[in-house]
Amino acid sequence: MQNNGGYGVSLYLAVRAIRRGNRNTLALTILVIALVVVMMNFLTMIIGGVVTIYNQQMIDYQYGHVTIEPKDKETFITDAESLVRELQRVPGVTGVTTHLSTGTTITNIKNGQFLTRGLVAFDPVDEIAVTKYHLVIKEGTFLSKGDTDEILIGSLLAGHEDEAQDKVPSLGGVKVGDRLEVAYSNGVVKSYRVKGIFQTEGVTIDSSAFITRNEMDSVMHMEGMATEILVRGTSTDAAVPLKYTIMSYGVEEKVKTWNDRGKGFMGDAIASFSLINAIMTVVSLIVASVVVFIVTFINIINRRKQIGILKAIGIRRQVIVGSYLIQVLILCSCGILLGILMLNVISLTLTMYPLKFPMGYISPAPDYAGIAISVLALFFVALISGYIPAWQVAKEEILDAMRG
């Protein structure tokens, strides 16, 4: 060890104090700091997981990467076909699908249960290039382009015969092959065979229903119109540039990224979660600082006499305080490493056995920048909490300290 008669001596004393100190106190202190690290970051990881899955669901099932909406004060995109052709020429676009939505009442013919729902029509071939409904078919099959008598519904809309098992209002246990009666807003009533039931775990998504565009046009006669156009790009990160590229092509309709559209309800929910998380982080930091203060204080009070001895034989006060700060740093480092290890174990376990949330199975998403900030904050409060009692005792008169 390099000896400069200053902080080298602090390190010398600190290492020996830890090596020859009380092992149980040491282990408990490290464990408490580790748990604080877990407390500070666990909720953030879960919120991160919720946000990740919610974002992915928005992209994969609701909005694509970019959504084109009707112009202000208009309900429909009137010349959707030419707009689609234009969008397909935009660099970075990998898929385009039009959605035409209309209000309907859907009735389960088997039991008479009915619900009011927006029924969405799409071209199944175009849809596969943008959304992933075709990959989450729980029963039956996805729609085909020529289907006119068939409907695709979500698992929550299908529901269970036993209502107690339903989380949201449902049609009371629809199976593939069952028939549903759809009453359109123009008065037309048609019966459809359930071709497939999909399950994404998203509450809103799994409560929806789809038919083919050809079928909707035959009923509503709204050829060439759309309520929205979904565009898929090359990646999630490319959504914003893609939006501006599309706008640069002179598209007059409203162009929004998935994030623009998803800011509403979930944005508020995430903001609330983040506030709770911030409160928990502050509480955790206070707990950590109190623990470090108490441990250092008890440690120092028990060693008042030793501090007096060290001062008597010529060890400077700063060196003594420094030795306690180094002890705090070592304890904190061990606790933080253990905490990060525990976080990784928790994260790994929850990735293997995800938590079931209303929007699906959540795997924690570690926020490494957040962890780094919490670690720095923990070091800071620990050093302050260690410094105060060390400085208080080290400034005592030598003989008072030596009396213990």
Partner: protein
């Protein structure tokens, strides 16, 4: 040399002021082995603590080797203690988390000397006090006599010009007390280090060059026992420098 002039120390115990030293003046020459004796409460330890810069006087002055130490700030006092003074306490005052050699080496380490040199010096000192076989032991594994010898080794490792000892034999039996006193006598004779020791044992007189008596915080006379060590021959019979 230590020159104490009109030294006063008053302790404030609640509303009551207790004068532990009421104007002590004395001089201790370089190389002397001086005993401070007197009844309990006479101010022996208080005087030692003031001279050893472990406490601040209420009045008067202390000059050590020409430095007015009463004027030094805390940092300078600490530095002065480290570089010039050694201490041996009644209860040994060893650091329990350091082993024997580390306890002795720590003042040398604090001086900024290279670590191997510090350990070598500590080992030499421990060899001198007969504890070379105990280097790696923790202090609680030693007897009281051994702990006091470690304390002596620590006090001497930086070869201070003055060693202060506050009743170093109070917790020791006669045999161990003699060992401790012989060590003091030897370093005083061989290295001409000034030793100032508080004691209440009459038989310790045979080791002192001079005894200063205190009573009620005042000097109560002094008694020359022998010429200071620097004028005595060493163990080999060579005259001191």
């Amino acid at each position: 040399m230590i020159e104490v002039t009109d030294l006063k120390k008053v302790y404030q115990l609640g509303l009551v002021e207790v004068a532990a030293l009421r104007g002590v003046s004395l001089t201790i020459r370089k190389g002397e082995f001086v005993g401070i004796m007197g009844p309990s409460g006479s101010g022996k330890s208080t005087l030692l603590h003031q001279m050893g810069l472990l406490d601040k006087p209420s009045g008067g002055s202390i000059r050590i080797n020409g430095t007015d130490v009463a004027q030094l700030d805390d940092e300078a006092r600490t530095r002065f203690r480290l570089m010039n003074l050694g201490y041996v306490f009644q209860d040994y005052a060893l650091v329990s988390e350091l082993n024997v050699v580390e306890n002795v080496a720590i003042p040398a380490i604090m001086q900024g000397r290279p670590m191997p040199e510090c350990y070598a010096a500590a080992t030499r000192m421990l060899e001198t006090v007969g504890l070379k076989h105990r280097l790696d032991h923790l202090v609680f594994e030693l007897s009281g006599g051994e702990q006091q010898r470690v304390s002596i080794a620590r006090a001497l490792v930086n070869t201070p010009s003055i060693v202060f000892a506050d009743e170093p034999c109070a917790n020791l039996d006669t045999a161990n007390s003699r060992i401790v006193l012989e060590h003091f006598r030897a370093v005083n004779r061989d290295l001409q280090q000034t030793i100032v020791m508080v004691s209440h044992e009459q038989w310790h007189l045979e080791y002192f060059d001079r005894v200063i008596y205190l009573r009620d915080g005042l000097l109560d006379g002094e008694q020359m026992e022998r010429e200071p060590a620097r004028q005595m021959p060493d163990r080999a019979g060579r005259p001191a420098e």
